[in-house]
């Protein structure tokens, strides 16, 4: 065995410091804390939806919020697990959840297209920009937690980890917005809330790989 190799190992051994292994549960606890902080911040600064505060939430808004929450949890789980690589690991569950969530923007687009073809084009409400902006901003809390976690770990695919971080952040942010957003129409939720997740996913995929490479 080459001497340089032995010397190299000796130098690594000399540099050893105790490290806390990255536990999936600890990572999820941090992601949940970020989700909670985002939700409380939105509720405290912007208030709760009237129907939610009254204890009678609108069915579609409630369903959509639940879907976004599940997507936030599933994609956060997958992102956190990516910090601990191992050949043979499969993380495909989040994809099915994302597909399920995509039904909302998909249905909204079908509605827009069918109305357009029937000669009754729908005007998209611009107020959704507020949801988009607030959701993206609040999602940054989750993004920060996940990026710090992933940088401690060794994601084997920084591109996928970036995408997952973006999707998790966008869905966590828009879940928080769902507590305040007064709209409960499919068009608003599908287009604006869906767009927040898609935009954050794209940004995560484009920006984060350089940050997460090791």
């Amino acid at each position: 065995m080459p001497d340089s190799s032995d010397a190299f190992i000796d130098s690594l051994v000399a540099d050893l410091k105790p490290v806390a292994p990255l536990r999936q549960g600890s990572g999820m606890a941090l992601a949940l804390a970020a989700l909670l902080i985002g939700s409380v911040t939105v509720a405290a600064m912007l208030g709760l939806r009237r129907d939610l505060a009254a204890g009678h939430p609108a069915p579609l808004a409630l369903t959509a919020a639940g879907v976004f929450l599940v997507l936030a949890l599933a994609s956060s789980w997958a992102a956190i697990d990516m910090a601990r690589p191992a050949v043979g690991t499969r993380r495909e569950g989040w994809g099915w959840t994302a597909l399920m969530a995509a039904v909302l923007p998909g249905s909204a687009l079908v509605l827009i297209a069918s109305n357009y073809l029937a000669g009754q084009p729908i005007d998209l409400d611009r107020s959704g920009l507020g949801c988009f902006a607030v959701g993206s901003a609040v999602g940054l809390i989750t993004a920060t937690v996940l990026v710090v976690w992933l940088r401690r770990g060794a994601p084997s695919s920084p591109a996928r980890a970036g995408l997952l971080t973006g999707v998790a952040s966008g869905s966590a942010g828009i879940f928080a917005v769902s507590l305040w957003c007064p709209h409960d129409g499919l068009l608003h939720i599908g287009i604006w809330h869906g767009a927040t997740i898609i935009a954050m996913g794209v940004l995560g995929r484009l920006i984060l790989p350089r940050v997460l490479a090791w």
Binding site: M1, P2, S4, S5, F8, I9, D10, L12, V13, A14, D15, L16, K17, P18, V19, A20, P21, L22, R23, A83, R84, P85, A86, V87, G88, T89, R152, G153, A154, S156, S157, A159, R160, W214
Partner: protein, 176 residues
């Protein structure tokens, strides 16, 4: 013969708690494993550098190992990541290097594990044109024009296949 996976896992757990003796034993075992792992796909004159890069990643990313899981799949993921990174920055001076299939004889069980985690396995997931372009240019060190003549692909297609192949390899690190 390297230590079995259960022993390596235990050593890694001790190393995470700062046990230097266990860490030295673990790294030495990892070195032996890596040398055999890289032998089939990396020119001999580059193996030492790549092995040291990988051990450095093992050192920096020790926290990413979960002691409740087997160590070898974790080590293989790090080895593959460094290998794909190495392919990206491979220099033309590898041209004269030749690969010898001098894999040591290993026991059946160990061989089965290595086969499942191997770099060959990674290349199996690529379309043949992509794996051929990468093997010729990035591993055997041929020029683009030489690879083009050898494969019948145009020079631009060789470049495209290398680019797409490396991108795909990077997304398949954890594929068993």
């Amino acid at each position: 013969m390297i230590a079995d996976d259960a022993t390596l896992s235990r050593l890694a757990g001790l190393a995470q708690r700062g046990d230097r003796q266990a860490y030295a034993t673990m790294l030495t075992a990892c070195r032996s494993w890596l040398l055999r792992y890289y032998r089939r796909k990396v020119p001999p004159d580059q193996i030492e550098d790549l092995m040291q890069d990988t051990l450095l990643s093992v050192h920096r990313k020790l926290a990413s190992y979960d002691p409740a899981r087997p160590l070898i799949p974790w080590l293989a993921a790090i080895a593959r990541y460094r290998f794909v990174d190495h392919l990206r920055i491979a220099y033309r001076d590898a041209a004269d290097a030749t690969l010898e299939d001098n894999t040591a004889v290993v026991e059946d069980e160990e061989q089965a594990v290595i086969a499942r985690l191997s770099l060959d396995r990674l290349f199996e997931a690529l379309p043949q044109a992509q794996s051929q372009a990468i093997e010729l240019v990035k591993i055997e060190g041929l020029s683009i024009s030489e690879a083009s003549a050898s494969t019948g692909q145009s020079e631009s297609l060789v470049k495209v296949n290398i680019h797409r192949g490396l991108k795909r390899l990077a997304s398949l690190i954890e594929r068993a």
